[in-house]
Structure formats: structure tokens, C-alpha cells
Symmetry: C2
């Protein structure tokens, strides 16, 4: 059993893994407790409102991890276009390492709970906007105008989320290449 | 209570609506029976393997409906590019009519069950390939070469699935416009 100081982190990490594989409703509290090794008392201590609050925390934490990954992919790339490839590869790798079994941690919870849960609705919207903001900033740094940079931000989130779904069904990360190609085409020839 | 001849159709349609809003595990058999008005005996008569078999049927039927909608959008459009706009509008309308609450019927089930269920994994893959095949055929009819037409087919499915997710979080169909713009850019300037 982990020490109390680790229990919160263990609960978040176990819940994230389970939600990504079997969704929100398919993941019971008992399974989260078993996988994390955290005592039930510590669960209600850290998440007094229960599973919904845990899911909200999972979304924000996974959101930050993916933001970091997107930011670092753009930072090590010379151009926005090269950054788009680096981001797609990096998400594709993350997905492949799960043996093609783990979906996006935001989408996996959101599709079952939104709009019924306004708390999880707000969290999903915030995380997607945070990701698209990171992409928009990278596009601005490479000289795109604000309107184009904003639509590239939204496009990148749409393309990656869609690729994650098709890649899961196909058990093949190739869809992430197509996603990158779409965003790069939009960056090269933004529509009037 | 519907007549037995209608029970199967009612079960499929009620399950589809519920899966799209609250996912696969969040939808219990009791709720499907209540919403459909079908007697429990008729459920096991029509779906002897249970809920998984019902979900597989829902996926194939919803898959065919969306294929039909995509096909008819391309049929009434003069060019592939115009067809991409028509398809996106048509999915955006479908989504908006659900008051931004109903996700893609395939994805809603797939993310919770695949790869654990090979039956639902096969169904998801088949439906996504069917959709992308319809788009590929439309691209071929408009003169694109086979390789480009195939990647446009996959791109359209990725873009629409991703848009459906972002639109659900935002409760706003604008993401479908961005999705259409990406696919049109790819159609105008396919990458080397």
C-alpha cells in the first residue's frame, strides 16, 4: 500500500489508465482502488465529491502532460510545419506504447459524461482550448497571422483526436501521419 | 409496447441514442428496454449474445445511415471539394439537432470496448473503412489518382471524428467547418 502522500498521485494515474482503456462508466471505484493500492478512506479524503472529481483531476493533469509534450515538440522543431510532424509522432508513439489500447484521456471521459456533467464539460473544453492555444502560439512564432494561427490550433486538436480514434480501430498509428498531412496542407494553403 | 416485428428496430434505435449520449457501459439493459418499450424476452430473441451483439448491430446500422448521408452529399455536389463541405454540414446538422449531446455512434462504443472486444473492434474498423471508401470513390470520380483519393478518404473520417469530439466539448458545430477546410486543403495540395 503506498504512503498517504503518494495515494493521490497513484489514484490519478490508475484512473487515467483505466479511463483510457475502458471509459468512465466501465471503470468502477473498486477497480481504481485495487489498481492504485490506495485505501478507500484516502480516496474520499483526496476527492470528497467522488469519481467525478477524480475524473476532472485526471483530465486536467493529462491535459497538462499532453500540452507539455506538444510544447516540447514545437520547441525542438525549426518550423511550425516540422513541429506538426513532431507532435503527431509523439502522440502516435504514446499511443503505440499502450499497444494501441489507450485512447485520449479527455475524450474517453467526455463522450460518456458531457453535457450531463457540467463539471466535466468545462474541463474538456478547457483542456482542448489549452492544447489549441499551444499550437496557435507556435504558429504565431513562425509568422502566421492571428486568424490562421487560431484555425491551425483548432485544426491540430481535431486532427489528432480523429487520428487517435481511427488508429485505435485500426490498431495502427498510420492515421497520425494523415492527420499531420492535413494540418500541414492547411498551414501551406489556408482557405479564403 | 411495440409489436414484436418492431421490437428489434426499437431496441436498435433506443440503444443507438443512449450509447451516443452516455456510452456503452453507462447504458444498462434495463434502460434500453424501458426506452424501447420492448419486452425482455424479445431482447434475447433478437440478440441471443446480449448487449455486445446489440452494440455490433447498432454500429453497422448507424454506419450504413452515415454512409448514405455521405454518399448523398457527394451525389448532389458538383465537385469533390463541394462534397466535402456538404458532408461536413450534414454531420454538423445531425449533431446540432441532438442539442450537441450525441457523439458518433461508432466512437461512443469503440472507445470503451476495443481492443477488449474483438467483435466490436472488427465492427468499428469495418464501418470506418466503409465511410472512407465512400469518400475515396467520390474523389476518384472527380479525377484524383488512387493514392490521393485513398488518403482523402482516411483524412475525411479523421477530420469528422475529431470535429465531432471538439464540437461536443464546445457545444458548437464550428469545428466541422475547420474539419472541412483541412480536407479541402489536402485535396488542393496533397503533400509529396
Amino acid at each position: 500500500m503506498p504512503r498517504t502522500s503518494n495515494a493521490r498521485a497513484q489514484l490519478i494515474s490508475s484512473a487515467a489508465k483505466l479511463f483510457q482503456r475502458q471509459g468512465y462508466h466501465g471503470t468502477g471505484l473498486t477497480q481504481i482502488l485495487t489498481e492504485s493500492g490506495a485505501p478507500k478512506g484516502s480516496f474520499y479524503h483526496h476527492f470528497p465529491s467522488g469519481k467525478e472529481e477524480l475524473a476532472e483531476t485526471v483530465m486536467h493533469q493529462a491535459g497538462k502532460e499532453i500540452s507539455g509534450l506538444v510544447m516540447s515538440a514545437f520547441d525542438r522543431s525549426d518550423t511550425f510545419i516540422a513541429g506538426v510532424d513532431a507532435v503527431s509522432l509523439s502522440i502516435a508513439d504514446w499511443f503505440s506504447r499502450s499497444d494501441f489500447a489507450a485512447g485520449c484521456p479527455i475524450t474517453s471521459v467526455m463522450l460518456e459524461t458531457v453535457p450531463a456533467s457540467s463539471r466535466l464539460g468545462t474541463a474538456s473544453k478547457e483542456v482542448f482550448r489549452e492544447w489549441s492555444g499551444v499550437v496557435t502560439s507556435a504558429a504565431l512564432r513562425d509568422g502566421y497571422d492571428m486568424q490562421t494561427a487560431k484555425s491551425l490550433g483548432q485544426a491540430m486538436v481535431i486532427a489528432l483526436e480523429g487520428a487517435w480514434i481511427v488508429a485505435r480501430a485500426e490498431r495502427d498509428p498510420n492515421a497520425f501521419l494523415t492527420a499531420a498531412n492535413m494540418v500541414k496542407s492547411l498551414a501551406n494553403t489556408p482557405p479564403k
